[in-house]
Subunit: 248 residues, 6 copies
């Protein structure tokens, strides 16, 4: 099984960490390749950035179709272009926010999501509602301090996340913690030990769920929502977006 993990952020060092996390947990026989698109923001920190990142992501999905991947992971916690990618492809596509939430539901009654900034709270709330999981979400918490600034200092980041997670567990009665951002990748094990409840990194959850869906031989439904897009010419957009699987 070959899974393509697409980090819609164009900063490759994050992509490499994502790939490492994905590979660590991939099943025997699963090959994981992680990439960043050729166009898009270095790091997505708003809906605006997210919308601009979609085109690059869709290009990578189209290339992945051509290259015969069995499944795809969208590796930004805002699930950039997830539904659009499902329209453009038949092979399963799973977003890391979506995957983390569904897996969390199997491990505890309610989950909390720890994310990087207050502006992302309504955005992630929108995702929770879109996936129909509002009643399972205890809270969305933002650690104090500037999480992105801690990227070079994993100790500081871990401490800030641990504090926010502990409040989610004690005050909001979260039973599972979801790390809501690529920048936190790789901290799940350490935090889980410290907190005593499951801590989920969406990248790993998504890879495992793509394996599960592919292992069962399922493909995206083409009934209504994810029907193939109509073939048309997009003014001013890269050619690859207008090509379909059967066109080579």
């Amino acid at each position: 099984m070959r899974i393509k993990v697409i980090n819609p952020n164009t900063s490759w060092d994050m992509t490499r960490r994502i790939e490492a996390a994905a590979k660590m947990y991939a099943a025997r026989g699963t090959e994981v390749v992680a990439v960043s698109p050729e166009r898009g923001p270095p790091i997505i920190t708003s809906r605006y950035d997210d919308a601009i990142a979609v085109v690059g992501l869709l290009e990578e999905v189209k290339k992945g179709v051509r290259d015969g991947f069995d499944g795809f992971v969208v590796a930004a916690f805002i699930d950039t272009g997830l539904y659009e990618a499902r329209e453009a492809e038949e092979a399963p596509v799973v977003g890391i926010a979506e995957a983390a939430m569904h897996m969390a539901c199997l491990l505890g009654d309610k989950f909390s999501i720890v994310t990087i900034s207050k502006r992302m709270v309504p955005v992630i709330e929108g995702l929770v509602r879109r996936y129909g999981l509002k009643e399972k979400c205890a809270s969305i918490r933002v650690p104090e301090g500037d999480i992105l600034a801690y990227r070079g200092e994993p100790g500081k980041m871990r401490d800030a996340l641990a504090r926010a997670s502990r409040m989610a567990i004690e005050e909001d009665m979260a039973e599972v913690i979801i790390l809501g951002g690529g920048a936190m990748a790789g901290l799940d094990v350490e935090l889980e030990e410290e907190l005593g409840v499951p801590v989920i990194d969406g990248v790993v959850a998504a890879v495992k769920l793509v394996e599960a869906v592919c292992g069962y031989g399922k493909k995206t439904s083409k009934a209504y929502s994810y029907r193939w897009p109509d073939r048309k010419e997009f003014k001013g957009h890269p050619e690859i977006l207008e090509k379909w699987p059967d066109e080579g």
Copy 2:
């Protein structure tokens, strides 16, 4: 007051009809300009198309900021890039789906939306939920036949819409009908006469609501959701997307 109506579809004949409808109802003293972006699909018929249309739409918003418009209307019933545009601007931005739904709430207990294809039903349902108005939506109905094919035959289109609307009124107890697609622009008056309940064209509703918001002197909140995007370089994307109001 100057309002820029952006039709994210790149087919100008639809844009011209939208402009005509908007101008017919604009208040004295309101100037309306309708445009299509330079890039994007000729007509949006899926989420995929919608996502690709966002970049072109945002470019038009940025240009509109530079040109000093007082407010913006996003004129595709999928409300392309609405939240992203609000991040990129301070002046009010209103989507035509959003506007039609809010106005319908002032006229009847529940509304139904008549749209062009079954694949759009879950998409529009997503919008209804995003605007928090699920309890006010009696149904989303799709007329039989190929609505888009009727674009040259207004009589056929009107009849198909009237049949679907009547079922919404009788079976789903809709009290207001919303025309869910730019292709239906201009049919509101005729249908209203035939059906005996208010029929709303989102373009007009949006222009009137932008007038209302601007007339009260309100601007988009920059508290959390629509905070200005962080300034950054977008690999492979037009320069205009990286510029902010104060940069000229």
Copy 3:
């Protein structure tokens, strides 16, 4: 366009302040008249008062029909008799709570309402739910101290409202503040400057929305909810309540 603003409280000094606010923002060509009914409580501070105020309000609507007004505003934040007025009339009727909430949705992801007393919280919560906007309401907050007692001291009232609003913004993540009571009329501009997010006075919002609806030529749907009431004799009630538009 002629809009009749009916303040169901019988204290005319509040009515005069409401009229001033409405006139300040009315569009060119809009004539605004504000009145208090002949019967009812001096100020509505409970559901009990509200129910008793309805008869007087309906009488004013009936007179307004006779006088040919194009639209009506119900100017108490409990939206006294709003649905009943819609039954009794065809011209648009908008409540100030309703208007404030719908307009807030166009400006930010969530709004908070600041109201005058704890007993009004469940009442307003009922309104929020009735308009189907529960998911857009971050909180309903009551300032500390006796807001009504501050009516002669705008400084004190403003400070109390500012404190409550700030908590709504910081703790509940409100992006728009709604002033939930006629007593707070006229403080919107000042508070908006202080808080940095949109602050909405329902009276202005309602006038602007009536203008929007009338400008589009829409009337209340008579399909089900707001069908004309059956003609009947009301024992012990003023004659005017039993008359219909076509009876003069």
Copy 4:
């Protein structure tokens, strides 16, 4: 125990039938008195009528307080002035729609309400939502034909109700049927035999629930929603509305 049943409709023949039904099921030791107010519509068939009926109802509650009743039933299926009566009194007040729904929840998974006209559907839907019971309501159905016209022909009315109820059971999977209107009083037993599922007359349900609440010695909470109204002078309204229990 003395229970005052107030039928806010001013037609005494309905009141007498209501009293008969209530007395048939009242417990040993419960005295039931049914009355109509001095003012109000002969029969409530819209929100407009309902709003006008409130004043008369509140007057009867006030008199009932003076006369020392232990509990009150509001006997119109629109629960006229229920919350306002709770403010005005301490003794339990139960509405017949409310009572029927709560009792139905003890007997089956979901209930359907059969009501007299389509215009009442959104009104009753509003009640269902107000009582927080939306998920327990399978449907609100309106029998074909003019139910009110059948008042002299119980056979015709029963047949029309039976047909609508059967559709609710078979198509909407209702497990309990609620008769949603005073005009249907007394048909519960006959219909229950025919349909094979519990059929509830709200008047009886309300009397039994008032007995239950009074038997446990509970009174309406005065914490927030139903706090005593502030004492004030109501311009142009009967004096009795301004008096409180301790004033005689």
Copy 5:
């Protein structure tokens, strides 16, 4: 009328206190018998215990059917086997959590439940949702300290409950308090006096509601949810579970 109160906990001293409370409020003519099953946990403190207690409870229901009881109360705040008992019987069965919540709705806008341990919070939340009453539940609160350890010290327990209740009233705006556990039985009157809002003991509420339902002559609907179970042989389970009313 004869009501069988089944405490699914096998500790008879709790059962005796439950019986005392039930008898104190039973109507004239109501005979109450309280029992504990022959098998099951001494006290239910988790879902695990609850599931194991069901078999014993169902045996007692079956015996009660044979003994001709008119109605049943399930007297653990987790409503052990309530729906299963309804399948196995036709006479009304009411749970104490269910009864407390429905009665609370008649007395105030929102209720809070005070329960014994944090692990019960999601369990009770599940009940609230199952009864469709989520919007009426202000909060579920757990007093500080080990409530079960206070069983011998009613003063300490009352103080802990009062503190938790007061927070529910002041911070969550609860208008009615529900005592969420058999261990708190008998403290309702004292707490109500102290708190000034209605305090409900589910055992009493359930007895009164069974009286109400039986007094109206209603039985459990056998339409879908509570249809009689199919007759079958349960491997390794007591014979009584396989017998039906008509088999003696």
Copy 6:
């Protein structure tokens, strides 16, 4: 990885078919063992049967803990004792209804569940709500005819399921079909080919999700809901229920 699949029905032929389906899709390196408990109903067709089946299921979980299984599947579509098993164990436990629903969410916007009898509809609706997935469930449909009677005639069963599924797709806009009953195991592939949308057998979905969760090294959260039960003596119940992992 060793997964124990527990079919709480005591009929081993169904268990053997379940095992076959599970093994067909298990990953390389996954060992699957399917069992039926020693006590319980031959086939669960009601809540009553389900409650009685729990004890046998928990015994099998306890034995599985002793035998060192890595994960568990509860293989009845009513998810018998799922939450109780999670309390009793630390290794992941997944129900087949739960698994089917979560996997369906990754493949289409909405799913429909096809189940065996009308009495199961409210039961499954309860599960959908418990997992917080109500908005993703398009409908629960029951094929015409007696599905259980078709167990020997797979052709008839498949045709009945196909008809019900097609109505779910066309009328309810389901994009994924879930087979809601063990009796339908093994028909997923055939039906998927016929219907053209993904058809999910919960047994396979559950095995794949247990693999996913175990592959990521996650265990059930012991924070609140699934905390270890308190050690106590269960009167009249098998000893094994009172033993804990560390006791051997």
